[in-house]
């Protein structure tokens, strides 16, 4: 008993140090510049522009991400087929390589003459544009969403779907009425993490959309630009907004996870 007490104390102390270091690093943003300068910058035209742009693009990207991730995740979770492992690996590649490489790939593909003209005929142009921001965010967040939603589908007892099928539901109706509602928590978690990823996407957005001030300037770009301008209070203001968005996203996920802990 005494030993387990010591072990618990050790775990708590160690975790406290880890969390404390992370917290202090984030909190040190507040001490870069005088607080009132930062607060003034929070309401400056540029930061508000970047905030609105980040919010709109991230909402649009997240919606696309979820729409694309749910079917793919369901396929991966329920069916096995030739080349599945390779397909999964390809999809997950962007998680493991720098965002800036992703941006370069997207620029080369969606900026190539044929592809670009093809999209232009339907009014889409991804190079140096706000649509490009959405595209870059989409591919940055997609693999994370697929992973989370797949594991949500994996966690559903196949008995439910089996019963539904045996009672006469088609696979599609089973998916809509049984699997989707059961995977709701996972999908919500994917929404939260995708949104945070989209709002925080930097390298891919910088390369594909160009990072033009007040045009394709999302919050991470605003942070980078203002470091380049030597304008620290503006950079900190952008950083703080990103911290708030990330905190909200992570807190939602934690809430969803702890809910499922207590109910299951």
């Amino acid at each position: 008993m005494k030993k387990s007490g010591f072990f618990r104390l050790f775990l708590a102390g160690f975790s406290f140090i880890v969390v404390g270091t992370v917290f202090l690093s984030i909190a040190s943003l507040l001490f870069v510049d005088s607080p009132d300068a930062v607060i003034r910058c929070l309401f400056s035209e540029e930061i508000l522009y970047a905030f609105r742009l980040s919010l709109t693009t991230a909402v649009i990207s997240t919606s696309f991400v979820i729409c694309a991730a749910v079917p793919v995740a369901y396929l991966f979770s329920r069916y096995s087929f030739f080349g599945k492992r390779l397909m999964k690996t390809i999809l997950y590649i962007p998680v493991a390589f720098p965002e800036i490489v992703l941006g370069l790939c997207l620029l080369m593909f969606f900026g190539s003459d044929i592809v670009r003209r093809l999209f232009q005929t339907v009014g889409l142009d991804f190079v140096f544009s706000k649509q490009g921001i959405v595209l870059a965010q989409f591919f940055t967040a997609l693999p994370y969403a697929i992973r989370i939603i797949k594991s949500a589908f994996d966690g559903i007892d196949p008995q439910y779907e089996f019963v539904s099928r045996s009672l006469g539901y088609t696979p599609l109706r089973t998916f809509i009425h049984i699997s989707l509602p059961l995977a709701k928590r996972g999908i919500l978690a994917a929404v939260a993490i995708s949104f945070a990823r989209c709002a925080g996407a930097f390298g891919s957005v910088l390369i594909l959309a160009g990072g033009t001030r007040m045009v394709t300037e999302t919050l991470p770009i605003a942070l980078f630009l203002n470091i380049s301008y030597g304008n620290m209070s503006m950079a900190v203001a952008a950083g703080l907004m990103l911290v708030v968005i990330a905190f909200a996203g992570m807190y939602i996920i934690e809430t969803i996870e702890s809910d499922s802990d207590t109910t299951v």
Binding site: L107, F128, G210, T212, R213, V215, T216, G230, M232
Partner: protein, 261 residues
């Protein structure tokens, strides 16, 4: 119990190995070797790498190079005066730094010229021959951000100096770093951009980019300068490095990468 002790031993061993390899990542911090931190404009990457290597081979000093946009470096200098030597791409940034007292004016040394030129897609398919062509309708121009990098500021000044208007409508992207401009021209995503002529003297870029020179009377030539940062830790080494950058020996390396005195 014996098995438990074994795994504890194994864990301790792994922890020690991990710590040693982690410390080994920064070997210079462990040894007594002195180091010198240089804030250099990103456009000087090629000659600066070579110059630093040469300096290291002649002195007992490790040169740590920090590359960035000149504005970005100035910002970093404001935040933490941890650099020893400052080498921006335009004298304006040096003036800013001396004006704020981060650099002693007496240590500023002129090195080489930075000559603006127009970069176009290889073979110049749009037939761009001068700065005024940039305002031609339908052209896609990429520009450096005037607040973020020296070349952006120069581009703006060049257009103003030559009374060229109407370029604004052609500007498809304003990029914070000159490297992005090179990428966009090399990949054919933009038709033209004002960049540093020396950047395209490098083998890798000259294959995908052509250069249109700007006549001397229309051009604005920047001076690259180097200086010692006030309150730097290793003043003697910093002074030696700045002196080396301006030396005859360094001149050959500068010339090799397309820079002129």
């Amino acid at each position: 119990m014996k098995k438990g002790r074994q795994s504890v031993l194994l864990a301790v061993f792994a922890a020690v190995a991990l710590t040693v390899s982690f410390l080994w990542l920064n070997p210079e911090s462990g040894r007594e070797k002195r180091s010198l931190i240089v804030f250099s404009a990103a456009g000087l990457l090629k000659p600066m790498d070579e110059l630093a290597a040469r300096f290291e081979s002649e002195h007992e000093v490790k040169v740590i190079l920090n590359y960035g946009g000149s504005g970005e470096l100035l910002g970093k200098l404001a935040l933490e005066r941890s650099a020893d030597v400052f080498v921006p791409a335009d004298q304006k940034y040096m003036a800013d730094a001396t004006g704020r007292g981060w650099i002693a004016e007496s240590t500023v040394v002129p090195l080489v010229s930075h000559v603006p030129a127009i970069a176009v897609v290889r073979g110049n398919p749009q037939g761009i021959s001068s700065l005024s062509d940039l305002s031609r309708a339908g052209l896609a121009v990429a520009m450096g951000d005037p607040d973020a990098c020296a070349i952006g500021k120069i581009t703006k000044a060049l257009l103003a100096k030559n009374g060229i208007s109407g370029v604004d409508g052609n500007i498809k992207v304003i990029a914070p770093t000159v490297n992005q401009l090179l990428l966009y021209i090399a990949a054919g995503k933009a038709d033209a951009a004002v960049i540093w002529e020396d950047l395209v003297a490098w083998g890798e870029t000259s294959e995908s980019i052509s250069v249109v020179r700007i006549p001397e009377e229309q051009n604005i030539v920047s001076k690259i300068t180097a200086a010692v940062v006030s309150h730097c830790a290793g003043r003697e080494d910093a002074e030696a490095f700045v002196k080396f950058l301006a030396s005859e020996e360094a001149c050959d390396i500068w010339r090799k990468w397309g820079f002129k005195r």
